[in-house]
Symmetry: C2
Subunit: 317 residues, 2 copies
């Protein structure tokens, strides 16, 4: 047994891949456009070629491949179920079998954010904790829950969807079909939409100047850059952080974890976000003291997914 694994993070835009030891030490890595419009077969060919190239670089075949997928997968069978954000038809594609045949080793699928949760547990903020929750706050809000050291999967590997708690029953429509999910209120998409409203409404002149009025350039990070100049933009970030704080407070109230990790692009806004989340948790968790609940930004950042895929490959099922 070589102790060497491959990790793949299949995203809507890019395929990230690494070869790494089970310790998390990365031996080779790559980042390639997904070109998802070409459909599952071409994308799987591409993934196989990427892994083979990394294996050539390392000179060592992996014992197994772990792969984070942007949606619902049948973990046991290694079959895709539903990828809401990838174009073309990904329903019931036997990815583990197809890739396993090409690469000559077992391939293990998992939802991408559950992968990132596992990454953060294995190699990031969660190395010394038994129970933690992970919020991936990006285009959407994904999540993952680890109880007593074990990733909570549920029958479909779909447990841990912390971004799809209802926190405002009559709130905006969410991509999942529900109204008032945390994701609909605090994701990068929701924040950017508010940024657009302010900019077009003449309430964010610094934002307008920063991106020359180009709505396509509005992101939470750009908004954070001008927050010191545009009080209304700052207010949007604070309000999103408060929603996120409510989501975190609910997870804390239900699970009393030792650790809450915030990952994804929005977490990179910085202290403003984390300070507000901590304040909301202090205020809203009334049933027990929360001094012992650590709340931190992801330590692995964009690497959480591929490193989690390594941990998943090494774990077996």
């Amino acid at each position: 047994m070589s102790g060497i694994y491959a990790g793949v993070d299949l995203g809507g835009t890019n395929i990230k891949a690494v070869i790494a030891r089970s310790s998390g030490e990365i031996l080779a890595e790559s980042n390639t456009p997904t070109l998802a419009h070409e459909g599952p077969q071409k994308v799987l060919d591409r993934i196989a070629a990427i892994v083979e190239e990394l294996v050539r670089q390392v000179g060592h075949p992996p014992q197994a491949v772990g792969m984070g997928c942007p949606g619902l997968v049948d973990v046991e069978k290694g079959i895709t179920r539903f990828f809401p954000n990838l174009p073309t038809q990904w329903r019931d594609v036997p990815v583990a079998a197809v890739l396993g045949q090409k690469l000559g080793c077992p391939v293990r699928l998992l939802n991408d954010v559950r992968c990132a949760t596992l990454g953060e547990q294995s190699f990031g903020q969660g190395r010394d904790v038994a129970t933690m929750v992970f919020f991936a706050v990006g285009t959407g809000i994904g999540g993952g829950v680890i109880v007593d050291g074990k990733l909570r999967l549920g029958p479909l590997g779909a447990a841990g969807e912390l971004g799809h708690q209802t926190v405002l029953p009559d709130g905006p429509l969410c991509g999942c079909g529900n109204h008032g999910c945390l994701e609909a209120l605090a994701s990068a998409t929701a924040i950017a939409a508010e940024g657009l409203r302010l900019m077009r409404g003449g309430m964010a002149s610094a934002l307008y100047q920063r991106i020359q009025g180009d709505a396509n350039q509005i992101t939470p990070r750009v908004m954070a850059e001008v927050a010191g100049l545009d009080p209304a933009v700052r207010d949007v970030l604070v309000r999103a952080a408060r929603w996120l704080g409510i989501g975190v407070a609910n997870a804390v109230t239900i699970l009393h974890p030792e650790l809450v990790v915030l990952g994804g692009g929005v977490a990179e806004i910085g202290d403003l976000l984390l300070d507000e989340v901590r304040a909301v948790v202090r205020k809203r968790v009334g049933m027990f003291p929360t001094d012992d609940v650590r709340m931190e930004r992801s330590q692995l950042g964009e690497q959480a997914g591929v490193l989690g895929a390594i941990a998943w490959a090494a774990k077996g099922i």
Copy 2:
């Protein structure tokens, strides 16, 4: 080893106690007023006397005593922390040591709703499931979470407070200090308060007649009895059930349990409640199909607590 245990459920109004086998077979039981105003020492004397009397009836000493407490306890140390609903000072009372000395066997404390959760898992709806959540909907809304067969405690035995999720950020004040907790919107107390509003506002003539205008008699059960005659009363019950459905949907989204059990007095309203909860879960859990999530009323009813105390006594820590 006799396999015989004592279970105690300390409530604000009554002390329930049983002697039972670890199989859940009850050998003797009693129900006695708590008289909580007399303070911890007298109440603990009373509990010891009750257990001793039951032991006399059975003719067999228990191997251990499990005790459900109405608040926060230090599970490891067997010390009370905070009982919000009992008068007099219950902070830091070494209940396990005091009762253990009197009764000559180990005494194990646990929050009362976590006890009921354990009861329902061990002897009720949850006998064949690994992962379940329990909502105790009464004066307040308590909860409990079981993951992979194990009751989730957290460092203070306080995890599982499903009634203290924020589901309406600017909602009514909750006893825990937060605003918009599920408890503040869907507990028996919240339902009765709405009943009062309707009755005094002239919108609930059948309710008025049923209890001769006596506000002290308003309960969810009485309201359920007149719901067929007073549409506004029925609307209050449906709305409370919808809030409860949101709380259940959130727990399902986060944990994807096999089973959700609704206990406590409000659960006895009947099908109206459960039907609405199921409908809301179907509607609001958008990330995965929920056909495999059973939602049921408690099978043990008021016995869930003492039977859970038996299970807790038998488990050890």
